[in-house]
């Protein structure tokens, strides 16, 4: 239950902060949630990752679907050298997730201090 709440909170806070701040504000969102909700460092890492991964990949998927994958197909050619909107969505989620994971781990360790 705590895991699900953490994931949802991370995603929600990340979304809200991103309206006003640069992209890296997702790190703060993951950090704050991990700091506030007591979890083991490994679980925090997982929830931070999943929270931002889901936020970014679902948003990207939503935007890309409305766009008929027109731009994602072009950008995936440019960045990944293959035409795959799905891959670009996945890579987006992974990059956000990595930052979220590291920040949540930091938050959880800071809490323990």
């Amino acid at each position: 239950m705590k895991i699900i709440v953490s994931i949802l909170l991370t995603a929600l806070l990340g979304f809200a902060l991103s309206i006003f701040f640069p992209w890296w504000i997702i790190a703060l969102a993951a950090f704050v949630v991990a700091f506030a909700i007591p979890q083991t460092p490994w679980k925090a890492l997982l929830t931070g990752f999943l929270g931002i991964f889901l936020l970014w990949s679902l948003l990207a998927w939503w935007i890309s679907t409305a766009n008929d994958d027109l731009l994602a197909n072009k950008i995936s050619m440019l960045l990944l050298k293959q035409q795959s909107a799905g891959m670009l969505i996945l890579v987006s989620g992974l990059i956000g997730g990595l930052v979220g994971a590291a920040a949540a781990l930091t938050g959880s360790l800071a809490r323990k201090l």
Partner: protein
């Protein structure tokens, strides 16, 4: 220990952010780019996006309504002109901001600032060439000149405010995708940027010359050979103004055009040899920049009213150079192609007249060799005196590197483009000042302002008098039946071959002798033959008393006139067929030459290709291998005939014009260049035909192996994104025919950038299409949605919307601009 873990996790987080926010580790800032709320995902426009909006903006005087049709063409209705140009600026920025700024950066020699110095320093080299040519200097002077005309000043300021209204409210997430990919942000717009854009068009259209190459050729060839290789009067020439009793040329020049007394020894010194130029300007406008335009009078049309047609041939890019729109206010309603970066409709029509342009291609850029007093370059010799120079320091910012300071000396002739810091030869230093008409202060934008407002043919002619550079063949047709064409611009009055070579800069005797009086510029109005036309050919034949320059294409003009001479009862649909015609007149005129091929000597491989050619109908249509054989064969034949002599010069020489070989062989079957001077044998034309077909066959074999023998595949037309390196933003391998010297002048990356046909009936029946789309955003379905239509030679009906038609089905979205 816990503290160590924490420190590690913290540093890891910061590290990841740095890796994904900068280009220090990865080639792209992936976090910044792929964040769905900030990066490129924000540029993915929903395919069912709407464009309805209510806007409150501070600088408006009154309300403005904009109606978009299903092609996203805005029809702007304003209550005064200031608001009209404000909204035009706003809409240009909304749909095309990145390209507007990129093009003005290119004009100002500022690309290194955003792109870095480039592979082998090529981008920096380009920037330096634009700076040293004085592009910014020229733009600054034209802003000063425009400020003297109240309408222009008000127009440019309103337009600037409109662009800036868009830029100011832009959030990072809304930036055009190119800014995100390259990592920079837009600057504020200014009237100087509009001037820079217009100067870029001057550079593109009146900045080309081959003076340095021709100087090399003069130093290498004998006078007789030179005249044979570079004749400027072609047998196929149909001048824009024929010299007839109905439209006679001026009997004599308005000024003394005798050449300087020492010209034979100082200027026409064939072959002198020693001090040839080995390096040419690193970036030259595409020599194919040109266009077709023609207007037929009511005597030749079904409706009894004139029809005007225009297709400007320019580099094919995405986002397109053009943006289609309608501008309406109480004073006028104009529709057509606009330049993002400048106010007004540029090629289009209003309710009374239509207007179009082709490039005059006159040589208004000449080089003079300067003698400096010493290496300080503070003084130069002129008419036996030392005159002071002025200096302009160009500061070139380079991404990732320290600034480059480049000092350019300015003389009364113009900037000294080449000197010891910017050399045109590895061997010698020569100081070459450039005299360019685009440096003269002029308010050329007033031309379009006037044409948009014009109520009659004569208003239109008054408007084009403001055009000084780039010189254009201005075509105007009116609803009351008048039509005509004027080669308009400030053209230097030159003696024969003046400025074809580098001129001595120490003596005013070599200066331009003044300006050709405007009324003596070539023109033709309501002629009895029933049409006027231009296609960048020589505007007048050699009985015209002024020298008009040396490099001109002839074949498109020949074909246009051949069609129109016999055509009657014309409709807009006939004009479409003509604009998209792929007939290769050069193939027709050269058939008697190529069929002298000794067929008995052909092996099976060559026979196959020759049969393709024999069966071919002279049309460069898609699916025609014969066209591919012809074009490659002819290119190799030219190489076979001239390359052996030309390669001995070891310096760049101009290649002879498209008509030279055909006409030379028709006149002289023992044409001296046929012989290959590198072999002991004496070659005949038949030998050269066979040898060149063999060489061509090697290329044809390669094409054939890749299944690319059909003309459209061999030619491989593409529309590249302006950055040229982003293939996914480009449209490649377009199945379209046409090519050089063909009315449908679609080359590999160059061609008809806006096809327009306007029948001057009441209410105006107009058609048009350009190879692009209204949106500059590669993530929008409006980015390239006209391309397929353009490829297949189709047109859109252009809708000049009237007040009261707001509820028309064609209106899809509405933007309301209100004063804040």
């Amino acid at each position: 220990m816990r503290f160590v873990y924490l420190a590690f996790a913290f540093l890891l987080t910061i590290g990841l952010i740095i890796v994904f926010d900068t280009r220090k580790v990865l080639p792209a800032p992936l976090g910044r780019l792929l964040s769905p709320q900030h990066g490129i995902w924000q540029n993915a426009e929903p395919s069912d996006a709407g464009f309805n909006e209510d806007l409150l903006l501070p600088d408006l005087q009154d309300k403005v309504d904009v109606y978009f049709d299903e092609r996203l063409v805005p029809h702007v209705f304003a209550r005064n002109e200031t608001d009209l140009y404000y909204v035009q600026g706003y809409l240009h920025a909304k749909f095309r901001l990145w390209q507007m700024e990129f093009q003005t950066h290119a004009a100002a020699g500022r690309l290194s600032e955003i792109l870095g110095e480039g592979p082998e320093g090529r981008i920096l080299e380009y920037d330096r060439s634009m700076r040293r040519l004085g592009m910014v200097y020229a733009a600054e002077r034209s802003v000063e000149e425009a400020d003297k005309t109240p309408e222009s000043k008000a127009q440019y300021e309103a337009y600037t405010k409109g662009v800036n209204a868009w830029i100011t409210q832009l959030k990072e997430s809304q930036l055009p995708i190119e800014y995100k990919l390259l990592g920079y942000s837009p600057e504020q717009w200014s009237p100087l940027k509009t001037a820079l854009f217009l100067k870029y068009m001057s550079f593109d259209l009146a900045g080309g010359e081959d003076d340095l190459e021709f100087t090399n050729a003069r130093d290498f060839f004998s006078k007789q050979d030179f005249e044979k290789l570079y004749p400027y009067l072609s047998d196929s020439l149909k001048p824009i103004q024929p010299n007839t009793p109905e439209s006679p040329y001026p009997a004599s020049a308005a000024m003394d055009l005798r050449r300087p007394a020492d010209a034979d020894s100082l200027y026409f010194r064939f072959p002198a040899g020693s001090d040839s130029i080995t390096k040419l300007p690193p970036y030259q406008p595409n020599p194919e920049n040109g266009s077709n335009n023609w207007a037929v009078g009511g005597t030749k049309t079904r409706s009894g009213r004139p029809i005007l047609c225009n297709d400007p041939h320019l580099g094919l890019n995405l986002p397109s150079l053009w943006f289609e729109m309608q501008l309406s206010c109480p004073a006028f309603s104009a529709y057509g192609a606009t330049f993002p970066g400048s106010p007004n409709v540029i090629i289009g029509f209003n309710e009374d007249i239509s207007f179009g342009f082709t490039n005059a291609g006159r040589d208004v850029k000449d080089y003079y060799e300067i003698e400096f007093q010493d290496e300080t370059k503070n003084a130069y010799r002129f008419n036996n005196e030392w005159l002071p120079t002025s200096k302009r320091v160009e500061i070139i910012r380079i991404k990732g590197k320290p600034d480059l300071l480049d000092t350019v000396a300015y003389t009364a002739i113009g900037p000294v483009m080449y000197d010891n810091n910017y050399r045109n030869s590895e061997k010698n230093v020569s100081n070459l000042a450039v005299r360019w008409q685009a440096h003269e202060p002029s308010n050329d934008g007033l031309t379009f302002y006037g044409l948009n407002h014009a109520k009659s043919y004569s208003d239109g002619v008054k408007a084009i008098r403001n055009l000084h550079c780039p010189g254009q063949n201005c075509l105007i047709a009116s609803r009351n039946g008048d039509y005509g064409i004027w080669q308009q611009g400030t053209f230097p009055a030159k003696w024969r071959r003046q400025g074809d070579f580098v001129m001595p800069g120490t003596d005013s005797a070599y200066f331009w002798k003044g300006t050709i009086p405007e009324t003596e510029n070539p023109h033709l109005e309501n002629p009895s033959r029933g049409y006027v036309s231009s296609a960048n050919q020589l505007s007048a034949d050699t009985s015209y008393p002024y020298y008009t320059g040396n490099v001109f294409p002839v074949y498109r003009g020949f074909m246009v006139n051949r069609f129109l001479d016999t055509a009657n009862n014309l409709s807009p649909q006939d004009m479409m067929a003509m604009q998209t015609s792929n007939y290769v007149i050069k193939a027709e005129l050269s058939r008697d030459i190529l069929t002298r091929l000794p067929v008995e000597k052909l092996d099976d491989r060559l026979k196959k290709y020759f049969e393709f050619y024999q069966k071919w109908n002279n049309k460069a249509d898609p699916g025609e291998p014969g066209s591919t054989v012809f074009h490659l064969w002819w290119r190799e034949l030219e190489q076979k005939i001239w390359k052996d002599e030309f390669s001995r010069a070891n310096v760049p020489l101009p290649w002879p014009g498209e008509y030279v070989l055909i006409e030379s062989l028709h006149k002289d079957s023992a044409y001296a260049w046929i012989d290959d001077v590198s072999t002991p044998e004496k070659e005949t034309l038949e030998d050269d035909l066979l040898a060149s077909l063999k060489t061509a066959a090697d290329s044809l074999d390669k094409l054939s192996a890749q299944n690319n023998l059909d003309w459209e595949k061999a030619k491989d037309t593409k529309i590249r994104h302006l950055l040229r390196v982003i293939d996914p933003f480009s449209r490649l391998h377009l199945p379209i025919g046409g090519g050089k010297g063909i009315i449908n002048a679609t080359g590999p990356d160059h061609g008809p950038s806006w096809r327009m046909i306007v029948a001057m009936t009441d209410g105006i029946e107009a058609y048009g299409v350009y190879p692009g789309g209204q949106s500059g955003n590669p993530g929008s379905r409006y980015y390239d949605d006209f391309v397929d239509h353009w490829v297949t030679g189709k047109y859109y009906r252009l809708w000049m919307m009237k007040a009261g038609e707001e509820a028309d089905d064609r209106v899809k979205w509405t933007m309301h601009f209100r004063k804040a």
